[in-house]
Subunit: 223 residues, 2 copies
């Protein structure tokens, strides 16, 4: 008779898939994508190397998936803020603080997403991520212009600058070393810088959005 997959089996498969993704995520959050070798992921997931290939066609696919899942969470958060109906400059302020605040809270992961040297496939994925950021910035800047809150400027251009400046200021070798500047100072400066760049005045301080309840250092998603 024809083989039919049992619920039992289907569930185990799904679990394994998750195990693999979690294992990879954990490695990435700990040591960047460089640490996410197939063998290490398999070991961490409690499976044999060959088994991973029953779940993902290649290492690249697996890593891309991890990158997407981790970055999607960030992007959705920002997109949500961008779509709210506050004044544009309030939204911008909140987006900047949220993005930066989260990156500072989990520097290792932020480094992996934003600054770590990656291979071609993942660089492509990162590009998507950065383009999305830029699009979110651009949208809010355009709103600010049409609200008359700031003088017109090239929103696309300014948003590309934001998307370049913020990660550099937050992560990687040019970022202020911890202790050099407090996280709050950094947020403050980022907002000041970005608002200035588009000729706006920063609103009064406002708390950043943070989806995590407790501190979350392993990059796990809990949707």
């Amino acid at each position: 008779m024809a083989y039919r997959q049992t619920d039992n089996v289907a569930q185990r498969l799904a679990e394994n898939r998750q195990k693999i993704l979690s294992a990879a995520r954990a490695l990435v959050a700990d040591g960047g994508f460089a640490k996410a070798q197939i063998t290490a992921v398999a070991k961490n997931a409690g499976l044999a190397t060959g088994t991973l290939y029953r779940y993902f066609p290649s290492k690249d696919d697996l890593c891309r998936q991890v990158f997407r899942e981790v970055s999607a969470r960030e992007m959705n958060l920002l997109a949500g803020i961008a779509a709210s109906n506050r004044p544009a400059l309030d939204r911008l302020d909140l987006i900047l603080r949220t993005f930066s605040g989260r990156a500072l809270k989990n520097r290792r992961l932020a480094y992996a997403l934003l600054a770590e040297p990656l291979d071609l496939a993942l660089t492509e994925e990162r590009t998507r991520f950065r383009k999305t950021h830029a699009a979110i910035f651009a949208r809010v800047i355009e709103d600010a212009i049409s609200e008359g809150a700031i003088r017109p400027c090239d929103a696309k251009f300014a948003s590309a600058c934001f998307a370049g400046a913020i990660p550099t200021a937050l992560t990687g070798p040019l970022a202020p070393v911890a202790g050099d500047m407090s996280a709050d100072d950094v947020l403050q400066e980022i907002v000041r810088f970005c608002f200035g760049a588009i000729g706006a005045t920063p609103p009064v301080h406002r708390k950043a959005v943070n989806a995590d309840t407790k501190s979350n250092t392993n990059g796990e998603l809990h949707p």
Copy 2:
């Protein structure tokens, strides 16, 4: 009797070394560091692969050398402007235009230096490069502050933002596509953006410094 290197030979050795560096440079300027494989460099230089190892201990060393030579030219140009004795904001304007103008004139090479995904060794080299940029920016910003031309701000921080924003806006996937914006528009926007970010007003337009007389697309140095 003991072997003594002839002038003749010494000269050939020096020439070969240059041939290798030029070949590598040409490949990089054409297709980025990814294209600079040992075999390709050797072929381009008209030498055997093994021969390269008599001139450079490893591929990494060779590539680092290329990176340094190419980037040194840029940095010196900027450093020269920074050290001149005009008003700080004039210098900043000139530096921004020079840097950006040159990058736009040779996009492929700029991409290799600023945005191409690289391995660890070259990423390290790029970091040096970017730190130097940032230091140049920081210095001029500080000067502007002490001249009283702008309100005090964290110059280190702002310069890191510049060093992130400018390459992003010029090169790589977020940069405006050619035809979308003219090179002049881009310069204009960069200056506007950066000056705004530190609370300054851009001076009137001024010609960028460009060390090249004729258009120079292969990244060759002519010191």
